[in-house]
Amino acid sequence: MSNEENFENLTFVQRLKAAVHHTTLKICKEDCEEKDVKLNRMVVAAISETTWKKCEHFATDLELFAKHAKRSTINADDVKMLVRKSPKLLEYITGIQEEMSASKAETKKKTKKTKGKETASTSNAPALVDIDENSMT
């Protein structure tokens, strides 16, 4: 049996686990180049397994937080609640959230502005050309 067939036969959960492992390996490689240390393969596997288990805790916690707030959709506040125990991380996450909402508002403003400009320029452009042509002749 080829590898591809094997991959097709894996369950969805196993494939997710493989994805987690793959990303963990990528992050490990990057960090190791920076710090000039060598991580054992077993260590990477252990880290990805720990991450996988941690995700389970995150999921159950987030669901319960949302449920407690009588919501069925998890929002940013729930994630902030999740990291409440480490102040630095909470600060960092709050910072990212503010950045995200700020950039969102900016893009909204920009799209509005550019739209306004576009309509203005399209209405003005032909008139300008007309004037130029008149002055030239």
Binding site: L16, E30, V43, E63
Partner: protein, 76 residues
Amino acid sequence: MAATFKQKTVQSIMQQYFKDEKTKMNTEALSLLTEVITIFVQEAITRTAKQAKKDGEDEVTLEQFEKILPQLLLDF
């Protein structure tokens, strides 16, 4: 840093652990959670590497990871 988890992967992982199938995540929460998980992995690597340096070993083994694991789990 370039390597992060894919939001789609994180969402699938979360979705399969939710007890209520109606539970969803909005995009903001998803990107924040992705960041948290990425930081978790980076923190694990950093602490393990630090422990290895403390022990004066060139190659990191499971022994070092086992040493930092309890505090890592307590911090997240």
